[in-house]
């Protein structure tokens, strides 16, 4: 029996079918509809520009001590946008270079944590059984420590405060959440037909993990990565505030607050308010972007017209 399919002219098809949208374009369209996410993205963009062009955006040297005003911090003025600190250094310049440090540490520690956590979680979920059980027990142990205190201790024990070490220590002690996330994703993906198909075609374990499982588990990892940058910036600020992070004279938002409780700094509130506000705004911006991405990438709502 031949079923008769009415043949439609192409013009009608074009009208009725929704236009083809690539995933990236769809995600962007949904991201851009979220006002907070756009604000966050703009703030992050501005920050990146400031950090990259820090040495072009200010005519001062961040470490140049203006001997004529040492000891008496100057309030903000047109000459010194954010005033000067107790050592007579231009605070705006120091904040610009501080942004560079924050972003460097935040971003690279995130890369370390995401890479390690993803590999760890993927291996754990893929092999299952006792491998999975023991690997996840280790994650439980690591998560029982207050992470910041652990980072602080390791930083103190290492006694090396170069930015690379700080970034490695933060990254290597904050991958646990990601590993759980990836594991959960892959556990649910592992049993799907397309994985069996790949295996039947003779794909090796590594190829199945890398080509089939990880790309499908990517969305929540991207969200976690964005949020992690904010968390890492907070961690770096805390470390530097306590003197166990970025060392003076390298400018960092956290270490600018080290002398916050000295009488001469308490008398110059801008020295306290500005770095703190910058930290808050930056972390909030990354959270806006992260939340926006979460909504935009969520397959349950993606492609819906709302």
């Amino acid at each position: 029996m031949a079923t008769t399919q009415p043949v439609r002219p192409q013009a009608v098809l074009d009208q009725e079918m929704p236009p083809h949208i690539s995933m990236t374009a769809d995600v962007w369209r949904r991201f851009a509809r979220n006002r907070l996410a756009l604000v966050g993205l703009a703030m992050v963009g501005l920050l990146v520009v400031c950090a990259v062009f820090a040495n072009h955006l200010s005519s001062y040297d961040p470490n140049n001590l203006d001997m004529s005003i040492v000891g008496t911090p100057q309030p903000p003025s047109w000459q010194h946008l954010f005033g000067t600190d107790a050592d007579g250094r231009d605070y705006f310049t120091r904040m610009l270079f501080g942004a560079r440090v924050s972003l460097e540490v935040g971003f690279s520690a995130m890369l370390v944590a995401i890479t390690f956590g993803t590999i760890y979680g993927a291996i754990s979920a893929f092999y299952g059984g006792w491998v999975d059980a023991s690997m996840m027990r280790f994650v439980d142990m690591m998560l029982s420590f207050p992470t910041f205190f652990l980072i602080l201790t390791v930083e103190a024990v290492t006694n090396n405060f170069s930015i690379i070490v700080i970034m490695l220590v933060i990254g290597m002690l904050s991958w646990m959440g990601v590993s759980r996330l990836v594991r959960g994703q892959i556990l649910s993906l592992r049993e799907r037909d397309f994985v069996s198909a790949a295996r039947a075609l003779g794909a090796e374990d590594g190829r199945i993990i890398w080509r089939h499982l990880l790309p499908n588990a990517l969305a929540p990892v991207i969200v976690a990565a964005t949020l992690a940058i904010g968390d890492n910036i907070l961690t770096e600020a805390g470390l530097s505030y306590l003197g166990l992070g970025v060392q003076i004279p390298t400018p960092s938002w956290g270490n600018s607050l080290q002398k916050a409780l000295d009488p001469e700094t308490l008398a110059a509130p801008w020295l306290i308010v500005i770095p703190g506000l910058l930290i808050v705004l930056t972390v909030v911006a990354f959270n806006f972007v992260g939340e926006g991405l979460r909504d935009a990438l969520d397959p349950k709502t993606r492609g819906r017209g709302t």
Partner: protein, 320 residues
């Protein structure tokens, strides 16, 4: 339930052992390691003397052998060793400070819940209202705010500019003995600091949980039956919305401890965080190790209580 509890308690043994190995390994693998005790000696020692003392203390053995000495001492003598700085038992040093930290944490926890739960209920039941936006704003800002900076700001405003509250410590210098009014006066700023940063997670989580519950069929049923709005919200919705939040107690404890440590440092409150930071600066490894272990134990205990609380509160959950 008792079966579940038994299994849960048994699982604690390998967890705590693992935690103690990690705490020990960090210290032992440090450049200089446990041997850095010699940095504190008043006069330089000859290598031969150092060797003799190392042999006496067992420091010439590899770190995992030392770990078993340490563990044996902990289990059978309840001892965490002696501080490198003042030679006092670490266990006693920590137990002295523990009540202060617990006091700070529990006070701010009560304050957080008192503010967060009503605010979240209002925000969830009045979506897109001013309070809803305010709650969301506080959630984001509180999350991004470094605890130490908030502490410094409150201190700068309320202790330095207007002298409403003292800036540091737990009691006035001239006070004799314990004075409740004086203690509360000293605790206002630290508790406010810790409460504000904790509010972020709680309000956000509680609001989301409430919104989820309000979408459930049984809420519509309750409303359709003609129950009053108050009954529906406070009796049907709130009870169910509080359940998932119990889990947050366990999840949030590490962050709360970190926040408390920072608060202690800013306000010079002699608690575990203050002790720990000084120990870190002085390379007092036994004390640092003790505090790391204590913090992790508190977190494990909190998680256990949260799990038991959840199982007890939700009749739908069966653990067999």
């Amino acid at each position: 339930m008792s079966n579940y509890l038994g299994r849960r308690l048994l699982g604690l043994i390998p967890l705590m052992l693992g935690i103690s190995v990690i705490s020990y390994a960090i210290m032992a693998l440090a450049p200089g390691g446990t041997g850095s005790i010699f940095l504190h000696s008043a006069r330089p020692m000859s290598p031969a003397d150092v060797l003799i003392i190392k042999q006496q203390l067992g420091l010439d053995k590899p770190w995992f052998v030392q770990y078993f000495y340490w563990l044996h001492n902990l289990v059978f003598n309840q001892s965490l060793g002696f501080s490198f700085i003042d030679g006092r038992p670490v266990m006693i040093k920590i137990l002295e400070k523990l009540p202060t930290t617990l006091q700070l944490i529990s006070l701010s926890f009560v304050c957080t819940l008192t503010i967060a739960i009503p605010a979240a209920i209002y925000a969830a039941t009045h979506k897109n209202s001013f309070v809803d936006y305010l709650t969301t704003a506080i959630s984001f800002i509180g999350y991004g705010m470094p605890t130490f900076w908030l502490g410094i700001m409150l201190l700068e405003i309320f202790a330095v500019r207007v002298h409403w509250f003292p800036s540091s410590g737990l009691s006035s210098i001239d006070s004799t003995g314990f004075n409740l009014g004086d203690r509360i006066h000293h605790l206002v700023l630290p508790v406010a600091t810790l409460t504000f940063v904790s509010l972020a997670s709680w309000m956000r989580y509680q609001r989301a949980s409430m919104l989820d519950v309000l979408d459930e069929d049984y809420i519509r049923t309750a409303a359709a039956k003609g129950l009053s709005r108050t009954t529906v919200i406070y009796k049907h919705a709130l009870r169910n919305a509080l359940l998932p939040v119990i889990t947050l107690v366990g999840l949030y404890l590490p962050a709360l401890l970190t926040g408390a440590y920072f608060t202690e440092i800013v306000f010079s409150i002699p608690g575990m965080g203050y002790l720990g930071l000084n120990a870190i600066f002085e390379r007092d490894y036994p004390t640092v190790m003790g505090i790391t272990l204590f913090s992790a134990s508190l977190v494990v205990l909190g998680n256990l209580l949260a799990d038991i609380g959840y199982a007890a509160a939700d009749p739908r959950i069966r653990y067999d």
